[in-house]
């Protein structure tokens, strides 16, 4: 589903590569934690998969597409196969819960009747049934992140990328979000989650890829968070 071959990424403003000769292969339906300190290359990894950045050397395949050869106008089609969740939720403050989710479908030109059908379904899935008409600022952090997950998942992507999705949440709320991501993973969606949260990684016992200064230092199935705590 995601394959990086000898990928190096150098930002023009930095001497040290953000990713240095990285080889990673993630199969369809896997749940993978990306761990490592700030600046270790986790975010760069996710940005490369989203094709927000291009690799400097090496090749990267996502959902069957060679991103090094993907032309500019095909990038939107790629991103429709990928859902993304961030630490800061990134909801539109002037739209209701269901409008926020519907927005993701409207802007890719989905017909109105199908939007009206799938938005309540996905809100039900993330446990927000009954809160469709709330504004984001009327929700708790955990609920806002559920809206973000709903928006990322509403188009049934093959891949879900989560960049520190529990970073702004308390432990109990975080567990709820992890349950949700786990449930989404069980539908066959590949989940890649960058995180600092050792408790979550330890309790989930899923594949762990650890990055350090742009190198993969560990790739372990059913791993734990692991580095010096």
């Amino acid at each position: 589903m995601i394959r990086l071959q000898s990928v190096t990424k150098v930002y023009p403003t930095s001497a040290r590569p953000a990713l240095d000769n990285v080889d990673v292969e993630i199969e369809k339906g896997e749940f993978v934690f990306l761990v490592g300190q700030s600046g270790s290359g986790k975010s760069t990894f996710l940005r490369l998969v989203l094709r927000e950045e291009k690799v400097t050397r090496g090749s990267i395949w996502v959902a069957g597409k060679d991103l090094t050869r993907l032309s500019h106008w095909k990038v939107p089609a790629l991103r429709r196969q990928i859902g993304t969740v961030f630490q800061d939720f990134r909801l539109l403050p002037n739209k209701t819960v269901s409008e926020n989710v519907a927005f993701a479908l409207e802007v890719i030109g989905k017909p109105r009747h199908s939007i009206a059908k799938v938005v309540p379904e996905v809100l039900d899935l993330v446990g927000l049934a009954g809160k469709e008409d709330r504004m984001p600022n009327e929700l708790s952090g955990g609920e806002q992140q559920r809206v973000a997950v709903a928006r990322a998942f509403v188009n049934r992507p093959m891949i879900l990328l989560a960049d520190e999705p529990t970073g702004n949440l308390d432990p109990t709320t975080s567990v709820g979000i992890m349950r949700l991501l786990d449930r989404i993973n069980r539908t066959g969606t590949t989940v890649v989650m960058a995180t600092h949260d050792s408790h979550i990684v330890d309790s989930m016992r899923r594949r762990v890829i650890e990055l350090e200064e742009g190198h993969v230092t560990r790739d372990q199935s059913r791993g734990v968070y692991g580095y010096s705590r």
């Binding site: 500019h72 939107p76 991103r79 196969q81 539109l92 927005f103 109105r112 928006r151």
Partner: protein
């Protein structure tokens, strides 16, 4: 493409930056009005040129003391010029009759105090190409017996110069306004892209196409441009009514000057619209290429 969504976004954008929208519309209006006005002045100049040069003839006035051989030499010289179509001789009596006819009603005193003997004799010269009147005038100007050479074009030169200056100043102002309008569009699009950066960020993330992301911004500017062009067109009709028909038309009587018609104004409108739409689309798309890269 779901146009209802695109139009809703566009409408929101227009209202959100209302002051900028109004400023853009007004600047586009001024720029287009200036261009249109310059075009009307230009059309008026051409029309006046054509009208007058079609009728132009040169009068070679002879001195009272000119002799018969001198007159023959002048006539020969005129006939030998390739630019000349026809030469008539006007004697004192004919000149007197024409003078009486022209001024009898307006200034009878002048006619009463003037005798036939004071009238000059002259050659009236019709030209093949009226624009070459200078060549003919110079050829005979200094011949013995010639008092002065008058071309009716001289009287019109002032009028043409006036129109020319008007056209140029209006065009100058219009070009400045055009530059301002383009800069405002640039700024407006940038501002709109900035105020909607959250939406745009999410649109890019969920895989909205470039067209979908950019269409509301471009449409916003195009709507402003069309409104601007419409106001400018209305203003051109006002200009034709007030300046051309009432101003110029009354100052120079209608038999002296052929004023441009409403058709000339109407002809300008599609060009104004085209300029507005093409200019604004190019500017908006160009700006978005820089500020909304996916």
């Amino acid at each position: 493409m779901r146009w209802s969504f695109v139009f809703a976004e566009m409408w929101q954008g227009l209202r959100r930056n209302l002051t900028m929208t109004v400023a853009t519309i007004l600047t586009i209006t001024i720029a287009l009005f200036g261009l249109g006005a310059a075009w009307l002045f230009h059309a008026q100049i051409n029309r006046t040129h054509d009208y007058w040069f079609g009728k132009i003839e040169i009068s070679v006035y002879l001195k009272q003391a000119s002799t018969g051989p001198q007159q023959d030499a002048i006539q020969q010289e005129l006939n030998s010029l390739p630019q000349v179509k026809q030469v008539f001789f006007e004697n004192r009596h004919e000149a007197w009759l024409r003078f009486k006819k022209e001024f009898a009603s307006s200034s009878p005193a002048l006619v009463n105090n003037t005798s036939e003997a004071q009238m000059p004799q002259s050659f009236r010269v019709k030209l093949k190409n009226p624009k070459e009147y200078n060549v003919v005038a110079q050829a005979v100007q200094n011949m013995p017996g010639v008092d002065q050479v008058a071309a009716e074009a001289e009287a019109l030169k002032k009028l043409f110069a006036f129109f020319d200056t008007l056209e140029r100043s209006v065009l100058f102002i219009a070009l400045i306004a055009l530059v301002v309008a383009l800069l405002l569009i640039f700024n407006n699009v940038r501002l709109a892209a900035y105020t909607r950066r959250r939406e745009v960020g999410i649109m890019r993330l969920v895989g909205a196409s470039d067209t979908y992301i950019q269409a509301p911004f471009v449409l916003e500017i195009v709507v402003s441009a069309i409104i601007g062009a419409a106001i400018a067109s209305g203003a051109l009709f006002m200009l034709k009514l007030v300046v051309f028909d009432h101003g110029i038309g009354r100052t120079f009587k209608s038999n002296l000057l052929d004023i441009i018609g409403w058709g000339t104004v109407a002809q300008a409108i599609p060009y104004l619209l085209l300029t507005a739409v093409v200019g604004s689309v190019l500017m908006a798309v160009g700006t978005l290429q820089r500020y909304l890269r996916v």
